[in-house]
Amino acid sequence: MSRQFHNKEAATDVSRRGFIKGCTIAAAAMGLSESMVPKLVEAATSPTRPPVVWLHFQECTGCTETLLRASHPDVGSLILDTISLDYHETVMAAAGHQAEKSLHDTIEKYEGKFLLVVEGGIPTKDGGIYCQIAGKTAMAILAEVAPKAAAIIAIGTCATFGGIQAAQPNPTGAVGVKDLVQGTPIVNISGCPPNPVNFLGTVLHYLTFKRLPALDKLGRPRFAYGRKIHDHCERRAHFDEGRFAEVFGDEGHKQGYCLYKVGCKGPETYANCPSARFNDVGVWPVSVGHGCVGCTEPNFWDSMTPFYERLPGVNIPGSGEGIVTGAGSAGKKILGVTAAAVGIHAAVGIGKKVLKGNKSEDQE
């Protein structure tokens, strides 16, 4: 925005303190040391930093919303004000021809240098007519802008993997950016919506190191998607030991037990939600009692539904019951067998006495 308006006041709205705080949050999410923060700050404010163009296609604007709705403004304003956003349909003031001109100017002037952010899936059926902006299809816009970008960040599960419109039967033939673009490096920040910290981290990484962060096989930054939710979840001990919420609102749910049986997809989902958390108040779905729906994974609308039923075949230690619960039920059986053995012993003893009297069993 700043570059668009040259609005110094708007730029200083982000106090230096908040700005550094935002950079620190991003550095922490990427696992960078504190000593890197000044470098990130420098890169984010460098006058030669590349501009960012943000395209919206088939989406709900939820990804942009998460950036704007951060409860303290540091992360959001850092992205919107400090990193220059030259074209963003939701937040830019320009409209119509003016906006289109701004887009054009940027991609011509900064060809091969600007960062392209794509939010939303791209419909491909019937020539891509199901999503058009300024009379052009999403496919055409992407085909025009993408080859000129230095790198592309696909934000949200729609832009990365097609998202909800790509769910069966996918009437518009929606796909993610990576299915249409070759030749330009792509980073997938999946999630519905993704954590703004992961987006910010990727951008700052690019500005600071002039290259994209290390990616997993689905093109997602490993600093954010390198580990399963389940392997870092605060309810994990309850999973291992066999304490589950059976239905929402039951005693187990109130006790904060594992949400696996009410449908949590954490065991199959890669994301840093348990550590990065959301909305700057340290929450994420599982922390507030709702299972993970697996929103960072491809096809999650098809493969993770029904959302409130457990995944089949996930290995729970302790014969599928959890180790403490499992040992407890095995223990009941063991103690039952003990009682039976003692009972038989007593019965045989009494029986023998009745039958034989108290004869000695010694033999020579």
Partner: protein, 214 residues
């Protein structure tokens, strides 16, 4: 030499012995792992749970151990003559005398010993101590297994203190069981060789032999 055959051990005692002995082997192995997990790995995933598996085995074996001890408790009062506590604990002058006779035998001072169909009283005293150690071990164990249970908290706090203190005692008692097992094996075999009463086989078939007094 002629021998008299005695039925010394009931089936229940033999079952208890092997449940007890084998559970202790499992408990020591898994307990050492819980204390110092050595399968460190950088591999993450939801299908390998070395610590969970070790703890699971530990807890199951803990229940077997507890069941065995409860069976033994019953036999202390309702078992056969050799299995009741006054036969092998130093509670009568005759039994106390047996402790000294056995000590003399073990230190090669005397050759005769004071033959018993059941345990000699020196062994019996140690077994009695072992039962007490087992009671402490399982109480501290269940205190740690069900940390939220107010009943176990009551026992645990009264007997050991905090969870950490209980854990420390639990760990120390493990060494008692290890030392006991080693000494026990040595002495059982020593006795089997020395006194030829069929001691080792008695814990399988319940039968012991005594030289016939002619």
């Amino acid at each position: 030499m002629l021998y008299v055959q005695h039925h010394a051990w009931s089936i229940l005692l033999r079952l208890y012995h092997w449940c007890f002995a084998l559970s202790i082997v499992a408990l020591v192995t898994t307990g050492l792992y819980i204390n110092a997990p050595w399968t460190n790995t950088m591999i993450e995933g939801s299908s390998s749970f070395p610590m969970a598996t070790m703890r699971y085995i530990h807890f199951i074996a803990g229940f077997v151990f507890t069941g065995a001890i409860l069976a033994r408790l019953y036999l202390l009062f309702f078992g056969n003559k050799q299995e009741r506590f006054w036969d092998f604990l130093p509670v009568t002058p005759k039994n106390i005398k047996n402790v000294f006779e056995t000590l003399k035998l073990y230190s090669y001072i005397s050759d005769k010993g004071d033959h018993r169909i059941g345990h000699n009283v020196l062994a019996g005293t140690i077994y009695g101590l072992t039962f007490l150690a087992a009671a402490a071990q399982l109480t501290s164990g269940f205190y740690m297994l069900y940390p939220e249970s107010l009943a176990w908290q009551g026992w645990g706090l009264m007997l050991f203190g905090t969870q950490q203190e209980a854990r420390f005692i639990h760990h120390l008692l493990m060494w008692y069981f290890i030392l006991f097992a080693v000494a026990h094996l040595y002495l059982v075999i020593w006795n089997d060789v020395k006194t030829k009463e069929g001691l080792v086989s008695s814990i399988f078939n319940g039968t012991k032999y005594e030289p016939k007094k002619l």
